[in-house]
Symmetry: C2
Subunit: 108 residues, 2 copies
């Protein structure tokens, strides 16, 4: 469940601009602000089931976007690549390595 | 016009997975394979205007996706960052610089 939450946080971060306003509200309350389904339902005066269905559908949409665009996968690839580069650089004696590492990290 | 063609090639590359099959056919024939509107129209037995309208709408969709997700802008940012890093590294005497540069270029 924690793993799913982390994944959804990433997917939401990458694709939230493609969602509707309502989807964005529910998702950010549920995943970013850690509200419960019941709390969101009460706040918007709708049923808990309606909130659940909306969030579930949005999760499927996010997975569908990831299948098409693969932004999370590419991000993870870059992160590994950068870790590998840091290792390669730190094995050599590079002057001002910290400056280079900082520039490198901005590439994530 | 050439500038627009280059931009559309990039946007198509980044977002084509979000388009319909018909949009993908027209766009790849027009932008990647350099067919004319008339040739595409003849091939699909539709009017030149229909092809033009479809391609024009698709171009607007691609610009809309770019406004939301900014993949081309981020790509250009990374490319500049990598050029800057290459410059920083080549100013230092780093052993096996070519290995590092190759890894770095894979980050684009």
């Amino acid at each position: 469940m924690i793993e799913k939450t982390i994944r959804m946080n990433y997917l939401y971060d990458f694709y939230h601009a493609l969602l509707t306003e309502k989807q964005n509200q529910y998702m950010s309350m549920y995943y970013l602000d850690d509200w419960s389904l019941g709390e969101i339902a009460e706040y918007f005066d709708v049923s808990r089931q309606a909130v659940y269905d909306n969030i579930r559908r949005t999760e499927l949409m996010l997975e569908e976007y990831e299948k098409k665009l693969g932004l999370l996968e590419k991000y993870e690839g870059r992160r590994n690549q950068i870790a590998q580069l840091k290792k390669l650089l730190s094995e050599r004696s590079v002057p001002d390595l910290d400056v280079i590492i900082k520039e490198l990290e901005a590439l994530e």
